[in-house]
């Protein structure tokens, strides 16, 4: 394994010389081929015959680099070239059945001729939208899936979420992270477009505000409180500009609202959070949560799940009537300190409505309070978001912030 010994001190120029003369197939080839030259440079024999591009047995630089890993590999994974690789077997991602029996919808695979899952007839259905990343000391993941009622009738996912983070000046890491969940109102025709553009506008407007309040969460809360009207105006105008912008005709004819569409046709809810991404490890993480409408936010800690806004009452009859973001003049702000071993969870009501009942966790609420109190892999998050509970047929979105992981 001489070739795997210490790197040679040969220069690329020296090493490249044999290429032109010692290999018939490369006679007259360009004098420098960087990758081959590098390989030659590790041949400590100094012989021009010992390492050519045709010498498949000669170890490569990469092989040398990873040789120690091969040495440490358990014998069970070593195979000769003659041995066939076993077929790949991945564990199946099982659906998350919350109750003993699957719901009617879940009893039939989506691909059957029952046609219980149809693609959207206009525009992208956004069956699955997912994102995850680390910002400062925070781990953040979001997932949104198209609800059963939209799958059944070929509608689009009307939820949207956005995540944005800004650095202060030339700082190495993000100072604040801004999250938004918007749930398009099902009763209006272009709510999926409205929620998407509104979520983007919200994080842009709030990120700019956070930049102005660099060091103090309470200063930021005061700023959000005092400037609610201009900020909401800016968000509504951004959405309006989006629909009145010049577009191709095919865009309008497929999934965009007409340029003169009133804002009510794009109405959606809003729940946002601005979270301190530089809180010291082990300390509580300051955050502010704002809401317009009924997209619930929760604090998960110690296996518990607490609604940040007072949950809708379960006395009397249930109602889904809710105010909308576009054209609103105020929002409700709540200060939250996220426990170091906990999480902040923003949801659309397709998830949030099913986590608590009479202030106590439901079966799925108790499961998620435990499971989502620590960061989860993206596929696991999607599996969890796709839980099976009767009547939970709306679009579902969850965005989770975990501090200090």
């Amino acid at each position: 394994m001489a070739a795997l010994a210490a790197p040679s001190d040969q220069t690329p120029e020296f090493a490249s010389a044999p290429l032109a003369s010692g290999n018939d197939g490369f006679e007259g080839a360009p004098p420098t081929v960087p990758c081959t030259a590098a390989r030659e440079s590790h041949d400590d024999t100094g012989s021009s015959d010992s390492g050519s591009v045709h010498d498949l047995d000669a170890p490569s630089v990469d092989a040398a680099h990873f040789a120690h890993l091969e040495e440490e590999a358990p014998p069970a994974v070593r195979r000769t070239a003659a041995e066939p690789m076993p077929p790949l077997v991945a564990p199946k991602i099982e659906p998350l059945l919350v109750h003993a029996e699957p719901t009617t919808f879940a009893q039939v695979p989506w691909w059957t001729r029952r046609r219980w899952t149809l693609t959207a007839t206009s525009g992208p259905p956004n069956d699955v939208v997912a994102q995850s990343g680390v910002f400062g000391s925070l781990a953040v993941a979001g997932a949104s899936i198209r609800g059963r009622k939209h799958r059944l009738h070929g509608g689009r996912n009307e939820d949207a979420f956005a995540i944005d983070a800004r650095r202060a000046g030339d700082a190495a890491e993000e100072r604040w992270i801004v999250l938004a969940v918007c749930d398009g109102m099902g009763s209006v025709p272009h709510s999926s477009y409205g929620s998407r553009t509104a979520a983007d506008a919200v994080v842009a407007v709030l990120s700019a505000a956070a930049e102005d309040c660099n060091d103090d969460i309470d200063r930021l809360v005061g700023h959000l409180d005092r400037n609610v009207r201009p900020m909401l105006d800016a968000i509504t105008k951004a959405v309006q500009r989006g629909i009145s912008a010049e577009r191709y005709e095919w865009e309008r004819s497929t999934y965009l609202p007409r340029a003169t569409a009133p804002i009510d046709e794009l109405q959606c809810t809003l729940t946002f959070a601005v979270v301190d991404a530089q809180a010291p490890a082990g300390s509580k993480v300051p955050a502010v949560v704002g809401t317009i409408g009924d997209s619930p936010a929760f604090h998960l800690f110690d296996g518990r799940i607490e609604s940040i806004e007072p949950a809708k009452g379960d006395a009397g009859l249930w109602s889904s009537a809710t105010p909308g973001l576009l054209g609103a003049t105020t929002w409700t702000l709540s200060r939250v300190d996220i426990h170091p071993g906990g999480a902040l969870l923003l949801t659309s009501d397709g998830i949030g409505n099913f986590l608590l009942h009479d202030s106590a966790p439901t079966r799925i609420g108790a499961y998620l309070a435990e499971t989502w109190s620590r960061p989860v892999e993206q596929l696991e998050l999607l599996r969890d978001v796709n839980f099976d509970v009767a009547s939970a047929d709306d679009d579902r979105t969850a965005v989770i912030v975990w501090p200090n992981h």
């Binding site: 009617t104 919808f105 059963r148 059944l152 009738h153 009763s187 009859l317 409505n353």
Partner: protein, 219 residues
């Protein structure tokens, strides 16, 4: 609690089975249409999981002929039988006590119950005029007061239908073809259940007037 937090929509069909309904073909039409309506709602997985259907028949008295249930639990749809008078008061009274019982029962199981929706079908004038109004007020003042869509054929008085509806009132355009109008109405009721459950949020998707039927708000 297994069902805690689940949302549920309740639909009631309140059906006139007075003697006149036998004479104009209404009874036969309804008995043919009810299994078809059941087939419509049982084929929709969202309706099965989220809706419950009950049926009340009334003449001089009223009775629950199909207790509120999930579509897949209903093996045989009941039928109506031509009887005597047309007591709206009996219908509203039984409707109120039935809704109160059903909603309380479901809430005790942890369900979140949306405001119920009633499809009220009649072919004539109430025979208990002056009495039914107090039962109607008791129903519509109740905490669980339902949405009411009124459907009238044959001799149903338009103003009475408008008085009892809370969402919409419809009437057959041609008194002579009551059975045909009633068949259209029953199809429309099935579609309304499916559309309302699909639209989400507990809102009732008010139907357009089906063929042979007129929306009384447009007259």
């Amino acid at each position: 609690m297994e069902t805690a937090g689940q949302e549920i929509m309740l639909f009631y069909i309140v059906c006139d089975e007075s003697a006149s309904m036998g004479m104009n073909g209404g009874i036969e039409t309804i008995n043919t249409a009810l299994p078809e309506l059941h087939a419509t709602i049982v084929s929709d997985p969202l309706v099965v999981d989220k809706a419950r259907l009950g049926i009340i028949a009334f003449s001089d008295t009223a009775e629950v002929i199909l207790p509120l249930d999930k579509a897949t639990n209903i093996v045989d749809m009941p039928g109506v039988t031509a009887s005597s008078a047309t007591s709206f008061g009996a219908a509203f009274s039984v409707l109120r006590s039935t809704i109160e019982h059903d909603v309380n029962n479901l809430k005790a199981q942890g369900y979140r119950v949306y405001r119920p929706c009633v499809f009220f079908i009649t072919d004539g004038e109430p025979t208990d005029d002056g009495l039914w109004q107090s039962e109607y007020v008791a129903l519509t003042n109740h905490a669980y007061r339902p949405h009411i869509i009124a459907w009238g054929v044959d001799g149903a008085d338009h103003q009475t239908l408008l008085d009892i509806k809370t969402l919409k009132a419809f009437a057959g355009v041609d008194r002579a073809s009551a059975a045909r109008a009633l068949a259209s109405m029953m199809k429309s009721i099935g579609n309304t259940i499916v559309s309302s459950v699909s639209s989400g949020g507990g809102q009732i998707v008010v139907p357009e007037a089906p063929p042979g039927v007129v929306d009384l708000d447009t007259l």
